[in-house]
């Protein structure tokens, strides 16, 4: 099986070709403002290395394009928001607690209708289908092209949302519809926020994924195209076109997943040492541990899982100050190869100290020969202490675990770290992100309240639902594994109420394999 992984980062676009479990070829090219030509260049160089166009089973792209569009407030469409749940949840309408500049860009129309469900699946009141028809006509007349629909307790019962969709398709068939229960979890305002963000990205997602497809086609590669998601799994580009929000924060996830793959370790701490920062995360079962609390995107509260990362101001380009001794957080960043001392510049950086200490061979060693050995020793000790403390903070329990090192500044990491069983350096560590994209699997998740079932039966039912979702997304049904189960008994609710969150993952089905 041949897979191509592409990571489109802020600075570099990396691409790798994997043959089964081996990295065959890897390239690094600058990211271009239009993104696409950078991808075309990366693919062309990758195929050049491979000496032709091999049979490829899948291409996976990881991109920050959609996150950046929200953060930078550009290329967003105006949307209509439909909330179904009146008379409940009436006081806080859609777009509540959004940054004003973003709401002004995205808020086209806001409609609130009677309907929705209770926690136990009973309707709050009957769905106002006649009102929905009127709303659909107003959307059609306004020229708005994208709609987000959120109904109260729709993760338990999505029927109000699907009824609304049917009416929209009948009255204004050209409008793109995003339904909140397809995006997930309990938490009305946050789920609705994600639905509206998704709706405002639909136009951009369509043009971007099609451009990705074109870049692939012009490279002569015929393979299904996937986009990576924030949970380390992928979805088909044709689906990603409808769910661009799932790509949010996929970069750090890909880096950690790539580290797990390259080191063949599933439970470990990962440190990614870049030019300006070192990001430390924790892998469990091959997936990053999620951050606590509410993840915000562009100032909007969401329900997304984001990897729990500790970012230290220490990287290869970190500036060294001698008196009093300090390393970072200021950095020369991507200008290291111009401004660093071993590269002919005048700035003293972490990399220069590492060269002087014989930790790495880079540039011209003679240019740091005059540094005092005491300063070099003190600097190295300081950098090691920073990393050791960060690693300890991210460790989730006392037993020793491996530390996997990736990124261009990996030589800053000491060979021995307290609480760490071994420090693992891996080949291709500079393109770990693209490797992480290439190996991504397909997932399915449920987050739902089960009532009147024993715990075992509730968990089994949750697993069945999650597996069906994964297979719909392109997973090979024969090898699905549960990677996450969380069950939370609900205080105050009667009848053994249990909220279950369960996630399964599996490899993508081979090209041409039947998808049941």
């Amino acid at each position: 099986m041949n897979r191509i992984g592409i990571d489109v980062g802020g600075t570099n676009t990396d691409a790798v070709l994997l043959e089964d479990d081996r990295v065959r070829h890897a390239v690094k090219t600058p990211t271009t403002p239009d993104v696409m030509s950078g991808i075309r260049t990366a693919l062309a160089r990758l195929l050049e290395q491979a000496g032709g166009t091999p049979e490829v089973d899948a291409v996976m792209i990881g991109t920050t394009h959609f996150t950046n569009a929200v953060v930078q407030r550009r290329q967003l469409s105006r949307v209509a928001a439909i909330r179904i749940g009146l008379p409940a949840s009436a006081s806080l309408p859609p777009f509540t607690d959004w940054p004003e500049d973003l709401a002004d860009l995205v808020r086209g129309q806001v409609h609130m209708l009677a309907g929705g469900h209770e926690y136990d699946g009973r309707p709050i009141v009957p769905f106002d289908a006649a009102g929905m028809r009127e709303v659909a006509r107003r959307i059609r007349d306004s020229g708005i092209r994208s709609v987000g629909v959120a109904s109260v307790f729709s993760p338990l019962n999505g029927s109000c949302e699907t009824e609304a969709e049917a009416i929209l398709q009948e009255v204004c068939p050209d409008v793109a519809v995003t339904l909140s229960h397809r995006l997930g979890r309990l938490g009305l305002l946050e789920r609705e926020n994600v639905t509206l963000l998704n709706a405002c990205l639909r136009d951009l997602a369509r043009s971007t994924t099609r451009a990705f497809g074109d870049a692939l086609a012009t490279s002569g590669i015929r393979a299904p195209l996937y986009l990576t998601q924030n949970d380390g799994t992928v979805m088909l580009a044709s689906e990603a076109e409808a769910y661009p929000v799932y790509s949010f924060a996929s970069g750090p996830t890909n880096s950690m997943r790539g580290a797990a793959f390259l080191s063949k370790r599933e439970d470990a701490i990962v440190v990614d040492v870049g030019g300006t920062t070192s990001d430390i995360g924790s892998l469990r079962n091959g997936f990053p541990r999620d951050a606590n609390g509410v993840a915000e995107v562009g100032g909007v509260r969401t329900l997304f899982r984001m990897p729990d990362l500790l970012s230290l101001g220490l990287g290869g380009g970190s500036l060294v100050v001698e008196e009093p001794l300090a390393v970072g957080p200021r950095s020369v960043g991507y200008l290291l190869t111009e401004q660093g001392r071993v590269f002919g510049g005048e700035q003293l950086t972490a990399t220069d100290v590492a060269v002087a200490a014989n930790l790495v061979e880079l540039g011209d060693r003679r240019r740091v020969a005059a540094l005092s050995p005491a300063l070099v020793r003190a600097c190295v000790a300081r950098m090691h202490a920073m990393i050791e403390e960060g690693v300890d903070r991210m460790k989730a329990d006392a037993s020793p675990v491996p530390l996997i090192v990736v990124g261009g500044g990996s030589f800053l990491v000491p060979d021995r770290v307290p609480g760490i069983s071994e420090v693992v350096h891996v080949p291709h560590q500079a393109v770990a992100n693209a490797v992480g994209a290439a190996i991504a699997q397909v997932s399915g998740e449920v987050d739902q309240v089960f009532q009147g079932l024993s715990r075992e039966r509730a968990l089994a039912e949750a697993q069945r639902l999650a597996e069906a979702k994964a297979v719909r997304a392109g997973a090979d049904p024969s090898a699905l594994a549960v990677v996450e189960v969380e069950d939370l008994p609900i205080a105050y609710l009667p009848g053994n109420s249990l909220r279950v969150r369960l996630r399964v993952v599996g490899d993508i089905a081979r090209a041409g394999a039947p998808r049941s």
Partner: protein, 362 residues
């Protein structure tokens, strides 16, 4: 009667402080805060009144939202039914209220009287009946003083209203109102037994609204100055840092309507090498350091994010979180023998004699 108009900034501080006083329970005040921001933008204001200014025969509405915090994530709290629960009680009693107050200053219920006050103009009494958060009706200073528990009104968004005219005991009041609450979707606005001004002054826990605002302001000021918000809270409120560490394990289960469970923490920094176990029943109840009980209800046990100082609820405790466990002093009424019968460790099923963290300091 003199009242102080609360600024929008004070409402923000109140929400932050109330979440800390929730000691892990009471639900996040986030939605109530959003409602109040909206009401403030529309020109409404909350007037806070000193309980000392209440006339002895003044009628005070005592309010809270009953239900499951999980349901509140979808059925977002709405000032409409809150106001209606108060109006329904007024109709039943045949007289108007002079002021409104919270049952519980900890968590989302702290903002309920503010939302009602912002809509109706009723002043909000600076006080409550718990001084923190507790899960059950009899865990109030009013119950400790044996004041009557009826009548109670319960209202939902569909304009259903229930009046519990009498109840044989606090326990029966809990059973009857809980049944009605579940039937309307496990979320309902309630107006508890009305109190006279004199009852509030004699049996309420006073000045807890201003205390919550002060607590929130302390955290905000520390964050703005890049000082440790947790130390700032400890200094300002006479608290005690009990433990610092990261959460190694969380075990939750539901029994008898409580979210019960334990969290195990491994020490960091000064507590390295030590282990802490924290038991909760909706709120944090007892903490053991290396197997020895060192902090227990009704002392306030707060778990706060080690960096931001943000309070962490029992439902959002998660593996790997880096936290500080902090104790704050409980209101004196809860520490009396009668108070401890209602809210001491034995009321939660722990066979422990209450020992305050602050005993030696007193």
């Amino acid at each position: 009667m003199t009242t102080t108009s609360l600024s929008a900034q004070q409402i923000e501080s109140l929400a932050l402080g109330a979440w800390i006083l929730g000691t892990g329970g009471g639900g996040s005040p986030y939605h109530g805060l959003l409602n109040l921001r909206r009401l403030y933008r529309q020109g409404a204001r909350v007037r806070l009144m000193d309980p000392a200014d209440l006339a002895d025969d003044a009628a005070v509405a005592v309010v809270s939202t009953m239900g499951a915090p999980l349901v509140m994530q979808e059925r977002v709290v709405d000032p409409g039914p809150m106001v209606e629960s108060v109006r329904a009680m007024e109709r039943y009693l045949g007289r108007r209220f002079d002021a409104v107050m919270a049952v519980e200053i900890g968590g989302s219920n702290a903002l309920q009287p503010c939302q009602i006050g912002a809509v109706t103009g009723l002043p909000v009494v600076d006080g409550d009946a718990m001084g923190r958060a507790f899960p059950e009706a009899q865990m109030t200073s009013f119950a400790i003083h044996d004041l009557p528990m009826a009548p109670l009104t319960l209202v939902d968004v569909r304009d259903n209203a229930v009046i519990v005219a009498r109840a044989a005991s606090w326990k029966w009041m809990e059973r009857l109102s809980r049944k009605a609450c579940v039937e309307v979707g496990s979320i309902a606005a309630t107006c508890k037994a009305p109190r006279t001004g004199r009852e509030v002054k004699e049996c309420g826990i006073l000045y807890t609204v201003s205390k919550a605002i002060r607590l929130g302001e302390t955290v905000q000021a520390a964050r703005a100055a890049h000082r440790d918000p947790i130390q700032a809270v400890i200094d300002a409120e006479g608290g005690r840092r009990i433990f610092g560490g990261k959460i190694r394990d969380v075990d939750r289960r539901t029994t008898e309507g409580f979210l019960r469970g334990t969290a195990t923490l491994d020490g960091l920094d000064g507590d390295r090498g030590r282990s802490f176990r924290l038991a909760f029943q909706n709120e944090f109840a007892v903490g053991w350091l290396d197997g020895r009980p060192v902090v227990m209800t009704p002392d306030l046990i707060c778990v706060m994010d080690a960096i931001s100082g943000e309070a962490i609820g029992t439902e959002t405790l998660r593996y790997g979180q880096r936290v500080a466990v902090v104790a704050l002093p409980a209101p004196p009424i809860l520490l009396t023998p009668k108070g401890l019968e209602h809210v001491g460790p034995r009321a939660f099923g722990y066979d422990l004699d209450f020992q305050s963290v602050f005993a030696e300091a007193r």
